[in-house]
């Protein structure tokens, strides 16, 4: 090769070399620059600048180091780098909302961020160092952050028992049980309840074919005089348990035909005493007496009635039993009488107590229900269906199985259909790619999927068998939270060991009291050692609390201790023998170890000490702010007018020492009185005795206006009873 050519080539080569060097240097220069501007580094630098604007810069920067910061909890398999940017997460001075994110501190919660990391509760990707990858769904990392509205779902992943701090989650779980979702779906941590939908093997004796038709078409709807829907699942806070199945005309005819033929045991008409019926025929206005008895028996503790007041329809009453506004137009009169006398003979798991009826009361109350709780237009929109034909009946039976009715309702000869719907026990941990959205116009997220499925299943999947539940937005969010909490059995052994399983308390009583306990369904309202309802006071320590004589008279004739409560103990018309047995049992068995009756002697309570107690009560502590004596005082706590006859002295002392030790969620504050003041207050309280016991008649007369006045307020919610009931 000639030397000039060599020179030319080397010149070109030199130029190419120079150019590639420039490119190389540029690339080399770009990478530290790119590195310098990485998102997390910019947040770290801006945190330093931010800290310098705060008065406590030194404290804020004490633990700060440049670089990726991570929380490592090996036993939980947690490596969360969120604290690389969320730098103020555990700085107590950065809690205010004015602090810009991502530097704001976490609000105080029972779990410390340093021990648990962030992803355990908030989801997202702990390893990511880019904002989008950490927070949202990306191709590689699917799990997005859990919106803060549903964050209680994360509590539920480990805490299978309800926590006071997570009302939304508890409500969601309650709704899942109430609607018997596990009738069709498998759900994590929810047991099949004892009471599912009504047993239908005898339904033909209870209601007409037309009523079944109407109910299947539009479950529990009340129309006002203009024909508008006044109370339905949307407007009444308690949604009907029965969902809407969107049945066609032919399906309604077939299904109603099939159900109306289910009469496994005929109803024998009950023979009232001739005297009672004769008295009625002379005095038709006795229907008012029936209404009075209906109210006095506090049927509305469990059953709601729609009442029109000031032009608006509201529901008053409880939600333990069905709503009864138009029950007179629904049920067969002979069936009603038999039901009231012995509910369990029709439906063994019914929560309704078996009252001891006098013929007179039974007759007047049934007359009231049949004459007043009716709607003449109730069936006007329903076509005359006539008797069921064999082909309709046969189609109806097939429909009953096809629609999954047997998942909730029992019929002799038809096996319950379990796993009729898909398994949902790990729904809360599913990623979006595992879900089928169909044509639904909703954002492709797990939450939008769950809510669309519940609100209108057909929009997501036109072939869905799932019925439609009318839920208000708060309940929809609650049920979504509960479903999101079900992430299946944890695969990580660290988490598996953390799961706090729910406690299934049960309280079974044998013997004579067992019969009373079952007959009057005490556990529907009262709680016994953690088992039972929350409507009425917990009776776990009733034997330590109440004196036997008071218990006995209360069981026979319950008078209220809390004048503002609308839910009261019904009068069961117990026999003296039953009341004795119940009082004996409560007295001997339901005891608290903190109350030692033998340690208190009535000789300690002299008149001088009691006078001192009165001073303490009225002046120093001003207990009258919350408690009533006679006709003056507050009504936050129970009335103390007759406390000397009601409470055991040892209970009063233990209560004054520490109320929460006896009833953990009582709102009575713990004062930590000195022992001398406890003695004095007890002595004073024991002097408070109602001398002449209120007669039954007088008691009732005074109850009635109180009830009528307070009934209006009952609509404010089911929390009523639990809040104040627990407050006892």
């Amino acid at each position: 090769m000639p030397s000039e050519e060599m020179g030319k080539v080397s010149k070109r080569l030199r130029a190419a070399f120079a150019l590639s060097s420039v490119v190389f240097v540029a690339v080399l220069a770009a990478s530290p620059v790119r590195d310098y501007f990485r998102e997390w580094k910019r947040y770290e630098r801006s945190y330093v600048r931010f800290a310098q604007t705060r008065p406590d810069t030194r404290a804020l920067l004490a633990d700060f180091r440049f670089g990726i910061d991570q929380i490592w909890a090996p036993q939980l398999n947690v490596v969360d780098r969120c604290t690389t940017c969320h730098l103020g997460i555990s700085e107590p001075t950065l809690q205010d909302v004015s602090v810009p994110q991502p530097f704001r501190a976490h609000p105080p919660i029972p779990h410390h961020v340093q021990d648990w990391g962030c992803v355990v509760c908030h989801r997202g990707q702990g390893l990511a160092t880019e904002v989008t990858e950490a927070h949202e769904t990306t191709l590689a990392w699917e799990q997005p952050l859990l919106p803060i509205r549903y964050i209680q779902a994360s509590c539920g992943a480990c805490h299978e028992d309800d926590l006071p701090e997570t009302p939304q989650l508890s409500r969601g779980r309650e709704l899942l049980t109430k609607f018997n979702c596990e009738g069709c779906h498998r759900l994590q941590g929810i047991e099949r309840p004892a009471m599912i939908g009504p047993d239908l093997k005898n339904i033909g004796t209870k209601v007409s074919r037309e009523w079944i038709y109407k109910w299947l078409k539009e479950p529990r709807t009340i129309l006002d005089s203009q024909g508008n829907i006044a109370v339905n699942g949307y407007e009444y806070e308690e949604t009907p348990r029965m969902p809407k199945f969107r049945l066609g005309e032919a399906e309604l005819r077939d299904l109603s035909a099939y159900l109306s033929t289910l009469k496994s045991r005929a109803v024998e008409p009950y023979q009232f005493e001739a005297r009672v019926v004769a008295a009625w025929q002379k005095r038709p206005d006795l229907v008012d007496r029936g209404e009075l008895r209906f109210r006095q028996m506090f049927c509305t503790d469990c059953h709601a009635l729609a009442v029109v007041r000031a032009g608006t329809t509201t529901m008053i009453g409880g939600d333990i039993g069905p709503e009864l506004t138009k029950v007179g137009s629904k049920v067969n009169p002979d069936w009603l009488v038999r039901w009231l006398r012995d509910p369990q003979s029709y439906l063994p798991q019914s929560k309704m107590p078996r009252y001891e009826w006098s013929d007179e009361d039974l007759y007047t109350v049934t007359q009231y229900i049949e004459k007043r709780l009716v709607d003449p237009d109730f069936m006007s929109s329903i076509p005359k269906l006539g008797p069921a034909t064999p082909s309709e009946t046969q189609n109806g039976r097939l429909l009953f199985l096809e629609k999954g009715c047997a998942s909730c309702h029992r019929i002799t000869g038809i096996a319950p259909q379990q796993d009729f719907g898909p398994d949902l026990s790990a729904l809360g941990g599913k990623s979006v790619s595992e879900l089928y959205f169909g044509e639904a116009k909703v954002p492709h997220t797990l939450i939008a999927y769950i809510q669309a499925k519940i609100a209108d299943p057909l929009k997501v999947n036109p072939a869905a068998r799932m019925p439609q539940f009318n839920l208000n937005p708060a309940d929809l969010d609650a049920i979504t939270t509960a479903l999101l909490s079900m992430k299946g059995t944890p695969t990580n052994p660290g988490f598996a060991s953390l799961v706090a399983p729910s406690h299934h308390a049960s309280f079974n009583v044998a013997g004579e009291f067992g019969q009373i306990y079952e007959r009057y369904r005490c556990y529907v309202c009262h709680r016994f050692n953690g088992y039972g309802g929350t409507l009425a006071p917990d009776l776990s320590f009733e034997g330590s609390r109440a004196q036997r004589g008071w218990l006995l008279s209360y069981l026979k004739d319950p008078l209220t201790l809390r004048p503002t409560l609308t839910a009261r103990m019904p009068q069961f018309n117990m026999t003296a023998e039953e009341a004795n047995t119940a009082a004996d049992y409560l007295e001997l068995v339901m005891q608290s170890p903190l109350v030692n009756k033998a340690s208190v002697s009535s000789k300690d309570f002299t008149a001088e000490i009691a006078a001192l107690g009165k001073q303490l009560y009225e002046v120093k502590y001003q207990c009258q702010a919350c408690h009533t004596i006679g006709s003056s005082g507050g009504y936050v706590g129970p009335a103390l007018t007759n406390v000397g006859n009601w409470l055991n002295p040892a209970w009063i002392e233990a209560w004054l020492r520490n109320p929460q030790a006896l009833i953990p969620d009582t709102i009575e504050p713990r004062h930590e009185f000195p022992e001398s003041e406890i003695k004095a207050l007890t002595a004073y309280l024991l002097t408070l005795k109602q001398t002449a016991p209120v007669s039954r008649r007088a008691g009732r007369a005074s109850l009635r206006p109180a009830y009528a006045g307070s009934a209006l307020r009952r609509g404010s919610g089911s929390s009523t009873s639990s809040a104040t009931g627990g407050a006892k």
Binding site: V25, P147, V619, S710
Partner: protein
């Protein structure tokens, strides 16, 4: 090679200085959410933990964070009976008491009181602070976090709205 050296140096300097300028210009504001690379989180993420309706204006819904919502729960369990005009059970005990207890959202009276004072009032009761003994002490039944949550809730619902003092003194936050 020498001819290229100044060009290279210039390019490098220019590159670096341009970036510096860009960087320092945007980094002076301590609002990291404004950055293009860090978009605002979607609406659902910013939605609040819980809400409470303004008692005097049903259209006004007040957002609550976790602590405030715990305060709301405690308020409706312990305080509502005397510090509201209607309660979950119906009538309120408020009218029964003299002097009338303040409504929880009474900003006119309560905004002026410091967090420390409120904490003492709840924990020690009225008589300890020279007020009505009808306000019982809750310091033995509620823990400190619960009392703070109650105060946080009270501040959130206050009407007129509560303004945090411009410069918080060395009050309980630093203890």
């Amino acid at each position: 090679m020498r001819r290229f050296a100044p060009i290279l140096a210039l390019m490098f300097l220019g590159f670096v200085s341009a970036c510096r300028k860009h960087g320092s210009a945007s980094l002076t504001v301590p609002e990291p959410n404004r950055r293009e690379s860090a978009p605002l989180p979607p609406d659902s993420l910013r939605s609040t933990y819980d809400t409470e309706q303004d008692w005097s204006n049903p259209d006004h819904v007040i957002p609550l964070n976790y602590e405030q919502s715990q305060g709301k729960r405690l308020f409706y369990a312990y305080c509502v009976w005397c510090h509201a005009d209607s309660t979950p059970a119906g009538p309120s005990n408020r009218a029964n008491l003299t002097p009338n207890p303040h409504l929880i959202n009474d900003g006119t009276a309560l905004n002026a009181l410091s967090d420390q004072y409120m904490e003492d009032m709840i924990a020690l009761g009225g008589s300890a602070l020279g007020k009505s003994a009808m306000m019982p002490p809750y310091g033995k039944s509620l823990d400190r976090d619960q009392i703070r949550a109650l105060i946080a809730y009270m501040r959130a619902v206050a009407q007129p709205p509560y303004q945090k003092p411009a410069r918080p003194g060395p009050s309980y936050e630093r203890r």
